[in-house]
Amino acid sequence: MPAEPTACIDERQFSIMTTGKNKSRIHCADDSLAGAVSQRACVYSGARVVLNPVTDAVHLVHGPIGCAAYTWDIRGSLSSGSEMFRQSFSTDLKERDVVFGGEAKLIACIDEAVEKYNPPAIFVYATCVVGLIGDDIVAVCKEASQRHGIDVIPVESSGFISGNKIVGYRAAGEALLTLIRPKDGAVVEKTRKINFLGEYNLGGEKWLVERYLREMGIEINVAFTGDSTVAALKRAPGACLNLVQCSGSMHWVAMSLEKEYGIPYIDVNFFGAENTAESLRKIARFYGDEEIVHRTEALIEREMERVRPVIEKYRKKLAGKRAAIYVGGAFKALAIIRQMQELGMEVMFTGTQTGKPEDYEQIGTIVSEGTVVIDDANPAEIEKFLLEKDVDMMAGGVKERFLAHKLGVGFVDHNHDRKDGLAGFDGAIRFAREVYATTCSPVWERVKQDPFEEAQE
């Protein structure tokens, strides 16, 4: 064994790839390696981040306190109405409940929540312990649903099911499909409105895109799940088109909606000015209405004229700087890589927590040769490549932020708990400004100096 700490675990070698060097495929979508200090969370976490923005539902976490406490109000999602989603409900299981079963407590908690708030729906999340002791949450939810005449929906999100959040996205998707399925063969009337999938209204991003669409003459039916309500979600089958933004969380839901309700879907991406323009054009084309196309082009022209000089201003400062991107999903990674490139920056390494083989193939096509790509990275690997690749700034989530700072590397949060919107033309401006502010901060020069070095010698 080496005497010095190392970043290398042999079993991880196939999860790290340098583009252009080897043609073999990166290993991904596996369970996390024990002891590797993965940046990943759990199945429950995946389900929670997808469902939590449903504003007027009660989100009840069935398990010991930790799972709920760690995810209380964790998202930066905004609501135009109810704030119920920001309340954190837990059955707070104790040793007694684990030994004798937690169903009775779950029933009591559902009853209390209904009595106090009369919510239109309750999502009941299963946690590790609940899966293990075998509480029948499906039966409890079904029974409670009949008793109270509201939707009480089980979310099969026991953390240990997999080391990959994607399994939780699927559990959340299943819960959403259960919620929106019309009861007793009722039919939801078709409209010319669209659903917006994989949009969580972080910092009001859904509202921003909604403004663009309204100007184009298009209305959003409901977003999954940013600023959504139970009633609005139930109208989802009435849309004429589904936009899929975050494909990791919502691709499967889009496919199911197509199968069940015949709603086609297209991929969109509102991160970055070019991506936003491209996505708006795609939507306009779907409608095939000349008036819409005309209004869309006018909007894009006006906004691009506003964005271009700002991006150019920052590009002058940022050109040639070296960036790293490590985020949860491939959709986000691709969007940020493209934005960094628009700012003239070089992407030195990138990766995701939950990417699939096809995602990595796509990443491989847009980064330049020599870029390191890592699936399910850990702090040791991130540290190694930040130093080796002499990176100037990193985009990632909170867990990576302070490691970057300690190494004197700038940092931009692109996480589900952020408070500022980064979507659309306004978001592109904000993103560029933030990248500049951190990459070119005077702080880095200062903190790396040691004025007493000579005195020491």
């Binding site: 398990g63 059955t91 899966g131």
Partner: protein, 465 residues
Amino acid sequence: MTEWKITSRVRQVNENQCHMCMPLGGVLALRGVEDSIALVHGSQGCSTYMRLANVEHFNEPIDIASSSLNEKQAIFGGEANLRKALDNVIRVYRPKVIGILTSCLAETMGDDIGRFVETYKTDREIRGLDIIPISTPSYSGTHTEGFWATMRAVIAYYARPTERHQGVNVIVPNISPADIREIKRLLDLMGLEYTLLPDYSLTLDRPFGGRYKKIAPGGTPAAEIARMSGARATIQFGFTCPEKFSPGHFLEQRFGVPLINLPLPVGLDGTDLFVRTLREISEQAVPGSIRLERGWLCDAMADAHKINASARPVIYGEPELVYALAKLCLENGSVPAVIASGTQNSGLAGLLQPLLEGALEETVVLEEADFVTIEDAAVRTSANLAVGHSGGRYLTERQGIPGLRVGYPVHDRVGGQRILSVGYTGSLAFLDRFTNTLLEAKHSSYRRLRKEELLSERGVSNAKA
């Protein structure tokens, strides 16, 4: 009249948590042991969430390993994963100490980690590395109990019969790195030889500079922990720590080290008690510099006493800090409106009773509380200041009660690691923030409030008695 209420017996659902899970406290305590790393035996999410919670509070990178249990291990047992996790952690981090904390999942599966570790050590011929199994099922306690239980387990692992020596043991609860530094400064000024545990004053507040190390330098060395059994006495700031979790109690029972259980040295009385204790042990006079600091605190108390008398704070969080802050408020003429903790077995209510007797105003004391209960009580008692961690943000956001961040976790402000509230100096820093928050609230609203009160239609004064 003071109202006592143990809340969870009334309601079932916990709504907006005032406490977190047991292994989280264990992670913090382990950061105070030199060259150590925590490994959570459970599913991947547990360690990631604990990292997130700590990273946001301390503004530091914090690595916590996981045995990443999955469905298969949930059925067949987690030994193979734990062994692999140990292999990888040892390879990447080269720690001297690994604390293995159990999650709910591991405990419910019934994994015998004590046996796993023994077998592993034998098979791998482990030398120069201590692997300490610690039981922290989150349904058996909060992060507070997890903190104490971990300290107790660490001491039990190392302590062995040794010769008596002149040093004292100082065992601290979950306080900020800045607080630990201040306590050490006072111990140094009083000329004491001591072992402070857990000392995460450097590991959770690392200065910038030098080569980055995967395990932050600092922490109490194992050799010093081993000597704690021979100390003259243990000073433990564990006034609310139940005996079964108490590290100081363990040292007293097992090795005959006298235990001096003190409240945290917060406020004048609390710090006086601590300094008096140090004077008795060291048989040294209190140096002039400490007396000066005491004088500055007294001066501030006198200057601000009338403003502070207008405070009706709601104080919430971990019992040890809540108790100490309640004492500080009371000695400054502020009668707490609500005192609350998410913990259930600290005996907080009983300890507070003698302090609250004789007050003209009512105090609601809540144990095992969640924030919906705390918020209800705060509104009912017209609380005007919220003192505690970030969980109380709704008190400000929804009820307009100005907030003062202290305790753990603080994730919506910077500098959680630097919040200082112990000693005369820390108490003064805290008191100034306390008074200034009241003043800010007053100056930003009194014109409007007086106008509404005196020029409104009804024209009736609403002044409270």
